[in-house]
Symmetry: C2
Subunit: 144 residues, 2 copies
């Protein structure tokens, strides 16, 4: 699958850097997502970082054990757990972010900013079209 190979090629640029800081790609996605809001529910975090709840559950335990995040319960809904960045987490992000930007710049240089933008839009378009269709299977009698 071309998508797989491309993704691997891209991640190959980031992984060594993350490894130096003992983070996996997914843990990094979670931490970065947490910079976009002061607090986030686990479910939100899962959807914005595109990680399944079971995986996220494990990741949060690891990040919590490492003191990178904080967790508390929502007062109005005790089921919900609110996640936020701990100081150590924010500090770690501050150290890694510039490196991440540099790698991203490398990729942009290698492929061209316009081409990258085009590719991005095409991927989103494909994703959108594929995600709509399956719903039809719940309504096979539709107008085709």
């Amino acid at each position: 699958m071309a998508l797989l190979r491309a993704r691997e090629a891209v991640m190959g640029r980031f992984r060594p850097m993350l490894r130096d800081h003992d983070l996996t790609e997914q843990q990094w996605r979670v931490l970065r997502a947490l910079t976009t809001a002061p607090e986030m529910r686990a479910g939100q975090l899962a959807s914005v970082s595109f990680i399944s709840m079971p995986s996220l559950s494990r990741i949060l335990r690891i990040l919590d054990d490492r003191g990178l995040i904080l967790r508390r319960n929502e007062a109005t809904d005790l089921r919900a757990s609110l996640i936020s960045l701990a100081d150590d987490g924010a500090a770690l992000i501050a150290r890694i972010a510039p490196l991440s930007e540099a790698h991203y710049g490398e990729i942009t240089d290698a492929y061209g900013p316009e081409a990258l933008e085009t590719l991005y839009r095409m991927l989103e378009d494909l994703t959108e079209r594929l995600e709509v269709r399956p719903a039809e299977r719940d309504d096979p009698g539709a107008t085709t």
Copy 2:
């Protein structure tokens, strides 16, 4: 990552079908690869199906236990294990292949054959450009 989401959207179309036959996506990739040659070394199989050797090793054990593949050692190099499709494996592929084609057709219809071809080429181009660069890190003094 747009690549991840696109890949997930695509696989979402195939996974239920594979699941009906108790196959994972990777197991299916391996079986399909085996139709392209009467016999293949494990290493070849890993590279054409884009699966790491450790994963492939486990997958081959599973497929072997299910009687879908055959294994023997190469006479001239006892390290190499030659993999081929067992009759049951070929039969399973024959049952699944038409369904797979149908799903592929759906995707083509949803996105357009030309766009799909364009996307494919862009992904390959990106992959190629990213895979070349890392080698430079072994030779930092190169002419840039």
